[in-house]
Subunit: 253 residues, 2 copies
Amino acid sequence: MTGSLVVAGLGPGAQELITPEVNAALAHATDLVGYAPYVARVAERPGLRRHGSDNRVELDRAAFALRLAAEGHHVVIVSSGDPGVFAMAAALFEAIEAGEPSWRDLDIRVLPGISAMFAAAARIGAPLGHDFCAINLSDNLKPWETVERRLRAAAEADFVIALYNPISKARQWQLDKAFALLRGIHPASVPVVFATAVSDPRERIDVVALGEAVGSRADMRTLVMIGSSQTRTIARASGGAYVYTPRFSGAAS
Amino acid sequence: MTGSLVVAGLGPGAQELITPEVNAALAHATDLVGYAPYVARVAERPGLRRHGSDNRVELDRAAFALRLAAEGHHVVIVSSGDPGVFAMAAALFEAIEAGEPSWRDLDIRVLPGISAMFAAAARIGAPLGHDFCAINLSDNLKPWETVERRLRAAAEADFVIALYNPISKARQWQLDKAFALLRGIHPASVPVVFATAVSDPRERIDVVALGEAVGSRADMRTLVMIGSSQTRTIARASGGAYVYTPRFSGAAS
């Protein structure tokens, strides 16, 4: 019996943002592996074993999934958003490179999903409409100096910046430190978008100026986007505003 | 009669990568607006008017769609990939800001799609598994000096780089110039992924070392990804290789 291993992106939360390709893989699965809250997003059915695990055990989880697939099971590792963006796909290939040589020739597929940053951007306009970067603000797997160096390079080159994992119970000061660093480069008026639990009933989107941005506005489900010097807001008579970054850019930016 | 305007991402090509949310919007539309090859990807049906237009007329196309929505029609502007990434969403908000004040309070929604870079990344492993940036290599709307400055900043800060619009009939030298610039910063062994027509029958994915990368490998449907100094390849016994960027990063990177 030949097993298979799929790493699937469930998107930001809503069912209507899951691709048919991912739904087909879920329907074919014998085993679901992932961080427990993501596994819980997939409906139970007979013949589907669910292996929810704790956060921050990505390599163990990947090796477990690889062993199941090698035994002949049809395994789906579920990720939130897109699995290739600060999620399970990189952990899987780390496990493959470090693990059994035979794992390299298993039937493995990565299925893309709607990433948190594009779902968040869509809700507020088009903040990522020009050159942008995505930075994982967590310093669990890289030194904080590397994060700061990248923030500085990105702002000086005038990229829009999407920050993943801006805050957690164990990491409280990093986001405010990032805002302080960016205030030294950008005008205080640059828009900052806090997008929390996008497409979920708890969804909340706030826009503030960089000069007033404070880290406590974010929680573990928040994606933060900091505009470039060119990012603009459009006020609406009905209240609220759109945020977008024009496609063009002058010589100075 | 109250009209509506949706900007919808059709993903990279395959039907199975279109979200249910986008399919529902297409089913509700009275008018489809977009670059003709994208409009052609949506099946004809009675009651659906199709307004395909030429490339590079994004602002006119957006204003046309806004006028139709203001007249009470249900308009969907179709984009390839994700509409917020070098596509129609930014053009729409440029047109809104420059246009009729009443356009700001139309019923407008942006619906995310699977972007070319995440679809391409998924096909080859997890090249975007660490901090990355997306740069539109076209110098139609920004000076080439800005492109070079961003490429240099991104490589020096060790971002993985996704290049959109790497080449066109009118822009032939930019991609080779970008490779030459990056060879001055990165080791020649850094993997470069050329992903063409992802999820389409014509799909082709090539991986070469930066030292051997040549622009003529790309065409208008190619997404180019250049690894960071940490990006790795895993050879498979069956031929081919995975490309991924580990989640961790040492102090030097």
